[in-house]
């Protein structure tokens, strides 16, 4: 609560910067439009206006400030335009409509979640294997770490085409990319977490004559929970980015990525901006959900976040 006011001020400053930037960014478009409507603009030829920067043109034409906020196809939409577009496409359209952002959001979200579940599950299994098998540790771990320095996302278009040419389309190829992106953070985090118990704790279990399975379920797994949540939060946002990017180069017809592309190609910036913000809000909600789960679980277990 102590940081509520600072956070709000930072957000307010960003919003203010955005609102101010709208004027020079849209000035050239506005001036052209104003001239068509016979409003006096200085200078009065488009060529002369191109010579000036957005700020310069704005200073010469203060009467046009209001118009920059109401363009149909602005270069930089103002916050209220994005908000109105989002309200119209989220709340006022039926969710089955192709113009509803909820519909597109669900298309992306379902691929994200499916991929995230697959990637996390496989990641935890591999981490267990690595912790209990030396050969696996030495063979796989360097690759798992190295793979985090590689732009895996570049693989996305190829995976879609590869799976498409053997007849798999729709949700699953996107989920594969999401799974792939969430997989490695979970492996690396879980290996760290499962190795958390120190020699003293492991020795204590040995004096209890605990079996390997008991050692895993009662010591290693609980000890890894803070690390698990830290990786889950990284993994879920990586999964969402993966699903969005998977929609981009492949001509997908639905999903946030498809919406951004449609808005871009048909010159409807508001569509792109609304999809972008909807994707950001979805990401924030997912990460927030895991933060709440994390706090609740760790408090029940009497632990602290990693």
């Amino acid at each position: 609560m102590k940081s509520l006011l600072p956070v709000l001020s930072v957000l307010g400053a960003i919003l203010l910067l955005w609102v101010v930037a709208v004027v020079p960014m849209n000035m050239h478009l506005t001036a052209d439009q104003a001239q068509r409507q016979d409003i006096a603009v200085s200078p009065d030829t488009p060529a002369a206006r191109q010579e000036l920067s957005g700020i310069g043109l704005a200073l010469r034409n203060p009467q046009l400030f209001g118009m920059t906020y109401t363009l149909d196809r602005p270069r930089l939409p103002s916050p209220h335009q994005v908000a109105v577009e989002m309200w119209e496409t989220v709340a006022l359209k039926k969710i089955t409509s192709r113009r509803s952002l909820v519909y597109h959001g669900w298309v992306t979200l379902s691929a994200t979640l499916l991929g995230f579940v697959i990637g996390t599950g496989l990641g935890i299994l591999l981490a267990v294997g690595i912790v209990y098998n030396r050969a696996m540790d030495m063979s796989v771990m360097p690759w798992a770490i190295a793979s985090q320095t590689i732009p895996i996302l570049a693989l996305a278009p190829m995976i879609i085409v590869m799976l498409g040419s053997i007849g798999i389309q729709g949700l699953f190829p996107k989920a594969v990319i999401s799974a792939y992106l969430s997989f490695f953070p979970v492996v690396v985090g879980m290996v760290k977490g499962l190795r958390r118990p120190d020699a003293m704790q492991l020795d204590l279990l040995r004096t209890y004559h605990a079996s390997a399975a008991q050692g895993f379920w009662k010591l290693r797994l609980p000890a890894s929970v803070p690390y698990l949540f830290a990786s889950l939060k990284i993994g879920i946002s990586a999964s969402l980015v993966g699903a969005i990017v998977a929609e981009l180069p492949t001509g997908a017809r639905a999903g946030f990525g498809a919406r951004m592309l449609v808005g871009d190609q048909y010159g409807q910036p508001l569509v792109t901006w609304a999809a972008l913000f909807a994707a950001a809000i979805t990401a924030a909600a997912l990460v927030g959900l895991f933060s709440i789960l994390e706090r609740w679980t760790l408090r029940r277990m009497g632990m602290q976040a990693a």
């Binding site: 102590k2 940081s3 006011l5 600072p6 956070v7 709000l8 001020s9 930072v10 957000l11 960003i14 270069r75 030396r134 050969a135 540790d137 030495m138 063979s139 796989v140 771990m141 360097p142 690759w143 190295a146 985090q148 320095t149 590689i150 732009p151 996302l153 570049a154 693989l155 278009p157 190829m158 085409v161 590869m162 040419s165 053997i166 939060k233 946002s237 969402l240 980015v241 969005i244 990017v245 981009l248 180069p249 946030f256 990525g257 951004m260 592309l261 808005g263 871009d264 910036p269 792109t272 901006w273 999809a275 972008l276 994707a279 950001a280 990401a283 924030a284 990460v287």
Partner: protein, 286 residues
């Protein structure tokens, strides 16, 4: 052909795995050579299995080209790959990385002067770092044209937040005792910043810089999917996918992987030089 193919692949796997198990459990398992050898054998095993399965099952190269085909394509198209590398990595990713980094440092030092700003920027920056910022690519391509400037802008925004958050957190990471010591020396704000707080922040800053290397490459490549001149890694990947020239796509991915590892490795090397005093950098004594 399915039977023999699978049997031979399994054979290769068991040989590789047998060797690795022996090596990992041998007495020299802690030596540097074995620690490099084991993952190398593992990688090689996978490559041989890939090659065998693709050749023996006669998988179409449109679905999955064998590694040798990718390697020959890589060797044959070096000039194109180099041009793409220059366009995407040097012009797009590296420029954006440097701009984003400098901007983040600037904001971090400014924010650091006020506790109020720090408390506001840390949560907001951490939140922004988790968002799919790569989605801003179409907007920047529209604003700045399809050449490398728009890619550099996407990269700069993507790397800005992780570096900012780490830098701000790092600058706070000195104890009251250390700051008091500087005060007893009569050091003002700037000497304290340069001699105590910046060095103390370096491990954090490099953590952010290392995370940002991968982001920079992702941003530069993905932004090219939205529009680019007829050169660049993202452009080549998307057009080659369209022409079903998957060996070229794989060759570009090899370039991306090499560039990513080299970029990360460089930052890790510089980190080792700058923060040699930090416990995580000390050589463990056995």
């Amino acid at each position: 052909m399915t039977g023999p193919a699978i049997i031979s692949a399994l054979l290769v796997w068991s040989v590789g795995w047998f060797v690795n198990t022996r090596l990992a459990n041998s007495r020299s398992a802690h030596s540097r050579a074995v620690q490099l050898l084991v993952p190398a054998i593992f990688g090689l095993t996978l490559l041989i299995m890939w090659e065998l399965l693709v050749r023996m099952l006669e998988v179409s190269p449109i679905i999955l080209p064998p590694p040798t085909m990718i390697a020959s394509r890589f060797a044959g198209e070096l000039p194109i790959l180099w041009a793409d590398f220059e366009q995407t990595i040097i012009k797009g990713a590296l420029t954006g990385y440097i701009v984003g980094m400098l901007a983040a440092f600037g904001v971090a030092v400014l924010a650091d002067r006020s506790d109020f700003l720090t408390r506001g920027i840390l949560p907001v920056g951490g939140f922004m770092a988790a968002l799919p910022i790569v989605g801003t690519a179409p907007i920047f391509v529209r604003w700045l044209g399809s050449d490398w400037q728009s890619k550099a802008a996407v990269v700069a925004v993507m790397v800005f937040f992780p570096i900012l958050v780490n830098a701000v957190a790092g600058l706070r990471d000195t104890s009251a005792m250390q700051r008091d010591l500087m005060r007893t020396y009569g050091a003002g704000y700037w000497p304290t910043l340069f001699k105590l707080r910046l060095p103390a922040a370096m491990p954090f800053i490099f953590n952010g810089l290392k995370i940002a290397t991968t982001l920079a490459l992702i941003g530069a490549i993905v932004a090219e999917f939205f529009g680019s001149p007829t050169v660049g890694m993202g452009f080549r990947i998307s057009t080659s996918v369209g022409q079903l020239a998957l060996d070229m796509v794989w060759a570009e991915i090899v370039v991306a992987a090499l560039a990513g590892s080299a970029f990360y490795g460089t930052m890790a090397w510089i980190e080792g030089r700058v923060t040699f005093w930090h416990p995580s950098q000390r050589k463990s004594q056995k």
